[in-house]
Amino acid sequence: MTRAIAAQLVLSLRRQRTFLALLVTLLVMTALAGVIGWISHRTIIKVYDQAVTLLATTGTPAPPNPFDTKPTLALLSNMVIYIPLIGALMALVLGHLSMADDQSSGIGRLIFSRQVTRRSYVTGKMLGALTVLTVIMAASLLVSVASLLIVNGTVLSASDFGRLVLFYVISLLYLTAFALIGMVTVLLTRRRSMGLLLALGVWLVLTFAIPQFTSGLRPTASLNPITDPVSTSQTFFDVTAKARPLSVSEQYKEASTRVLEIGSPESALATSWRVLPIGCLVLVMAALTALLVSRHDYSRSSVNE
């Protein structure tokens, strides 16, 4: 039963235009991340070459090429922004679509008049969503590698490839949390549109509101994974700084930048701690989804007496 429900979800998602549009956008943006990285790389090299020529005429020794010390994966730094924006939105829609038909169109009544338990149903839905997200992340990984190879002419070392895979594993975990949020919001609301609206509200709070609060006076922090330039000695900023581990969006960006070697270096253990809140959110959302499905009255999903 679980497999049949998972397979149905995968098939249904493959044919839904809204989902496909978001998926294509994410993959295009993934490819663009490599292109943008290549353009900025070329610009810096061009400026560097001009500086070297200029310095050579004056007999001054040129400083080292900045890209000689820059890690290869830094070319993909924009992915750390695209995943919480487009990726999370796509995952929300995925979660929403995976539950909405069964709830609002009354298909749930047909399903539960069969030999399907609530447990196998919710497991099937989660498995289906995870399968789709895994395929998307794998496709995104391939696009990233291809864009590095084709556009930048960079062949990844085994270590860099491992880091890129790890980045996409963390991204998969992050997107799973949003897919589950999409499922939970459908189960909490009676109207399909309200479910999607609520899911978007949660996405806004997690992606923008909480990071703004937890990063104090860093107005661009919700978009750019930069190191905190402001001293947070005042009480308010002490509080917001302490609340930062609760911001899954911030933690995702921080962990990702470390994995891609963009941010300031830290130990593997410290990076692992940053992933922990995301994992906790996934577990809480999965438990909540299971609880809501087990208690949901599918007999009243649609028009009844």
């Binding site: 047909l110 069969r114 030999q115």
Partner: protein, 244 residues
């Protein structure tokens, strides 16, 4: 001796403090085509929800083919088929894909074959490769019936099966129900508040009034009991206390 197809003993149900079903006692034997009549809100859908294991009754026992709907849910769902009033399947999937999906959920060993055979039986093979989103109400109803019988259940529950159908669709549905009963031996339990098409297909009727079962008998006995009533509409109105 074979257990009744459907058995309800003292079944009551409440939504909050509002009673919807009041101590229903009902037995339907195998091979019957039973029709539940009643006004909107009489409790017909609640009764079907209980018998299809979707709802746990507040009190009483309900059994289908001898199996308790709560304790033996799995055995009950093996033996029943269900078509809700406003049938909706997955719009992005074809009729065949929908049928295969529901066949899998019923544990059918060869879902593809079962789907094809069911469509063929209902003379709807041409609908198989088409997506549900392209279907009219009548076509959806045919596929709805197909999903309900794809695993060849013993008892078929139909909730307001004629809603939204044009006269030709109603006639086609009536013939299908008749064939399923005669050729495949399915017991049919259906709800309706419309009367016009009732008399020609059902063998037994029950009347629900504000959650109470006020009448249950065979059609033949009903016609004998109300010899002066011109139609089933008149009989129904007399039962509900609105003499015409």
């Amino acid at each position: 001796m074979e257990e009744p197809a459907v058995e309800m003993q003292g079944v009551s149900h409440r939504y909050g403090s509002a009673p919807v079903l009041r101590e229903i006692d009902l037995t339907i034997e195998h091979g019957e085509i039973f029709r539940f009549l009643g006004h909107n809100g009489a409790g017909k859908t609640t009764a079907i929800n209980i018998l299809t294991t979707l709802l746990v009754p507040s009190a009483g026992n309900a059994r289908v083919c001898g199996h308790d709907v709560i304790a033996d849910r799995s055995k009950v769902t093996e033996r029943i088929g269900y078509l809700p009033s406003d049938v909706r399947l997955y719009d992005h999937m074809t009729a065949s894909e929908n049928l295969e999906f529901f066949a899998k959920l019923s544990g059918v060993s060869d879902p593809r074959r079962a789907a094809a055979e069911t469509l063929d039986y209902l003379d709807s093979s041409e609908l198989g490769p088409r997506r549900m989103s392209t279907f009219s109400t009548g076509m959806r109803q045919r596929i709805g019936i197909a999903q309900a019988i794809v695993h060849q259940p013993s008892v078929l529950f139909l909730d307001e099966p004629t809603s939204g159908l044009d006269p030709s669709g109603v006639r086609q549905l009536r013939e299908t129900i008749f064939r399923l009963n005669r050729e495949l031996g399915m017991t049919v339990f259906m709800n309706t508040h419309l009367l016009s098409e009732v008399a020609r297909v059902c063998t037994t009727i029950g009347v629900l009034n504000h959650g109470e079962l006020i009448y249950k008998d065979s059609m033949a006995a009903t016609n004998e009991r109300f010899p002066n009533e011109a139609s089933l509409e008149d009989i129904y109105e007399r039962m509900e206390g609105h003499p015409s």
